[in-house]
Amino acid sequence: MAAAKTVPAIELINVSRRFLSPTGKSLTALRDFTMTVERGEFVAVVGPTGCGKSTTLNLITGLASPSAGEVRVMGGPVKGIDPRIGFVFQTDALFPWRTVIENVMAGPLFRGKPMPQAQASARDWLSRVGLSRFEQHYPHQLSGGMRKRVALAQTFINGPEILLMDEPFSALDVQTRVLMHEELLRLWSEAKASVVFVTHDLEEAIALADKVYVLTAGPATVKSVYTIDLPRPRIVADIRYEQNFIDYSRTIWADLKEEVETSYARAAA
């Protein structure tokens, strides 16, 4: 039992991922990628646009498989889609023809829970994200931030042990984003899930995470890993003015900047 406890939630060991372009050429998205996420750890992954950040998440879900190397979830190899995983998407992935509560109920119903139980649990999650009054609304009637909160409820209702987030808040305005950060940290501290949070926003990464992985310009590999030693619970709105935060931000940005410039120069060429 003691051994099982120490097994990390997610391990990517020397993973490469290649795929074929429409013209038949082989492209490498990930190269010798190694990452470990401990149980209950919040890991942020930052890197220049288009470097292959999202690919890492797809490998963990089982939606994609590695060309070389090994991906392990809770100590076991990835076989298909793991029910212990939850995923929050960058784009709006809610079902627009379902009401808010029907959207949140989707997961439990897909997994064979009886209707009354799913409904009760959906009500509970909607109240936790503060959307009880909007049960019967359709997604298009909500603001972007509210839709994101529905997406969080939809994911958390399944009780995921691993939470993968692919630039989930990038489409929101700055104020709403800070509110969503608070919301996410609160839900995470209650659920005690392991999180991989992919973003291109360095400040967001530092404010939320225990560890920040900086990736190189594509094909992506790990450039450096920083442990963020800021006390929790964090107040995201205020933390960015603390000296520690500013120091982290400056150090990591110096590192990331090179990759961003490489990536930019390559795109311009």
């Binding site: 879900t61 889609i81 995923f87 784009t91 992935a93 989707a106 897909f110 359709y138 298009h140």
Partner: protein, 292 residues
């Protein structure tokens, strides 16, 4: 008339205008616009019918070929009150509608099922797409004589023709709708725990629904075409038969009267379909068609 519209805009821009005033002005502008649209619609219809009538009466056009609105109205009146030479009008209309509706329902159900099945299964789609293309290239009406030969003069041959007219349209849209389903939404459903069948039923089909409905609108018209062409080629009852008989006796008014009946029925069906669609698509921000 234009004065009123200008008045509204100038009043809305004056400082200190209350909300109620702006709303009232806006409501007035909307009513005014609607009235203008209806006025011109009616005016154009009246002008068209009037010109036709006058032209026929003054022998600018030969009423033997073109009939005239009053004669058509008279024929419609006779048909509805006294029945046609082939029996009561309602029975003919009933027969044609029965053929069209059965062909429409079976054709669209088959089109949706096969379209979704092939849309979900890339391998099957690749294998069968060539045959579907080949069959689709046949102009459907040439099948009418074959169906009548095989299935006889009755209901079955007309239903078969309406079925093939409807099937391909609905099939293509259902197939395309499935292919266009949002990838993030599909990935989301799979991670939330949806099995393949759950994914098809609760994500793929609903998201293809607006494509499918777009095809249902046109395909009811196609079902009527199928039924009527079938009746032309060989039948004992139906609106197509009435047109055929009118043609045989050089009864222009009779032919136009039959066309008017088909028009009214097709418009009624379209109206009904729009109502059903609006009911089903209440989740959509706004309907894609303009409400009238």
């Amino acid at each position: 008339m234009t004065d009123a519209a200008m008045d509204i805009s100038s009043r809305a821009f004056r400082p200190g205008t209350s909300d109620a005033e702006i709303e009232a002005a806006a409501a007035k502008a909307v009513t005014h616009r609607r009235r203008t649209v209806i006025f011109w619609r009616v005016a154009i219809l009246v002008a068209f019918l009037g010109l036709w009538e006058v032209a026929a009466r003054l022998a600018w056009i030969d009423p033997f070929f073109y009939a005239m609105p009053s004669a058509i109205a008279l024929r419609l009146y006779e048909w509805t009150t006294e029945g046609t030479s082939e029996g009561p009008l309602w029975y003919h209309l009933y027969v044609t509608m029965e053929e069209a509706v059965i062909g429409f329902v079976t054709g669209s159900i088959a089109g949706i099922i096969i379209g979704v099945a092939l849309g979900r299964n890339r391998m099957a789609a690749d294998i069968f797409s060539i045959y579907i293309k080949v069959i689709n290239s046949i102009p459907r009406v040439v099948l009418a004589p074959i169906f009548i030969m095989i299935l006889g003069l009755g209901l079955a041959s007309k239903v078969a023709l309406a079925f093939v007219m409807v099937f391909f349209v609905v099939f293509h849209n259902a197939f395309q709708g499935v292919r266009e389903a949002d990838r993030a939404m599909i990935a989301n459903a799979r991670i939330l725990g949806a099995s393949n069948w759950q994914l098809t039923r609760s994500v793929i089909v609903p998201s293809a629904m607006s494509w499918i409905f777009a095809s249902l609108h046109v395909s009811f018209g196609f079902a009527i075409i199928g039924a009527i062409v079938g009746e032309f080629v060989g039948s004992r009852y139906g609106i197509g038969l009435l047109i055929n008989i009118a043609k045989g006796s050089f009864d222009a008014a009779g032919m136009y009267a039959a066309i008017v009946i088909v028009m009214v029925v097709a418009l009624g069906a379209e109206y009904l379909m729009t109502m059903v669609e609006d009911r089903l698509a209440k989740w959509r921000p706004q309907p894609l068609h303009e409400t009238q």
